[in-house]
């Protein structure tokens, strides 16, 4: 694997590890059970590499949510983990502070002037895992405990007490 690619993959694996530690911490006072198992991912130029998956079940062993790393090489993001539940799926992406940006120009009297940098998504105030609300495609939400629980409910109908 090329060095730059290796750094990208290592950063992704480290981000996933931190995410899963955070999930363990956020859910430790709930009745949900969390198991980690290793899986392998292959991306263009990386060969196979190992990474954990997270399986969340309720106290009766019913599937609640699976956190499945998709890959490090994601267009306009630094990584992706899918949250898959019995009823639907949501997507988390790792974004650097500010997120992906583009240059935009203001047209003044028929001439393009004043280039400025605009973020592709609003709300990316720090590096971390984000959920993009698909119904409002330009809004990203930083993953915290409340959002995690909301997304788990979204994919599984599991109600946190």
């Amino acid at each position: 694997m090329q060095k730059e690619l290796q750094i990208t993959v290592e950063h992704f694996c480290s981000s996933v590890d931190k995410l899963f530690s955070q999930i363990h911490s956020w859910l430790k006072e709930t009745p949900l059970k969390i198991q980690e198992k290793e899986t392998k991912i292959r991306e263009e130029g990386t060969g196979y590499y190992s990474i954990p998956m997270l399986f969340i079940t309720d106290s009766e062993g019913n599937e609640i949510a699976t956190f499945k790393p998709v890959g490090a090489l994601i267009i306009a993001a630094k990584g992706r983990v899918d949250i898959i539940g019995p009823f639907s799926k949501e997507i988390l992406v790792y974004l650097n502070k500010g997120g992906p940006t583009f240059q935009d120009s203001t047209v003044v009297k028929g001439h393009r002037v004043e280039k400025h940098v605009t973020p592709l998504f609003q709300g990316v105030t720090q590096a971390g895992w984000y959920w993009i609300e698909e119904k409002k495609s330009n809004r990203a939400y930083f993953l915290n405990k409340e959002l995690l629980k909301k997304l788990i409910t979204e994919v599984s109908d599991y109600e946190f007490k």
Partner: protein, 176 residues
Amino acid sequence: MNLNKRAPLEDIWETYQFTRDSFKITLKALKQKENETLLNKTQFQSSSTEKSIGQIKKSRENSEKFVVLALWATFERVLIEYLQEKGKSIRNRKPKPFSEKFHEKVEAELEYWNIEDILDLFKSIVDPTLIGDSKNIKKYRDYIAHQNPKKVPPSEITPVFAHQILSEIIRQIQNS
């Protein structure tokens, strides 16, 4: 040409949202016995619950790929129509008989221009970073369309990113 062609991307995006919600509803109908009658007169009625759930999940995965194909197809059409519109002014140049023939040839051959070359034309009015991202979307689109099992997948594109990037390119063209 009506550059309010952002609407076609929005139609596709809305359809995708409704499709995702439809899968969610169907999965609930399959898993919750009290909603069983919703499955009457559908393929799910004669299929086992496990098989049906597997089929829905597979369809959901496919819909994520197909929305990228659909967004790309419409996006490419928008670019080509923009060039065709811009090309129309050739017709009025003197000598007119020559210009009309010249325009006919350009318009006919535009459809066969390499899309990467077309995208490069727009770097003068669209942020080149976005153009670069769109080429990666095209690469992913080609992988999905050709389904070559021997090829390793290229960089994955999350549907909402494809929608945002392609919509922003169209917006920048519209505002140029």
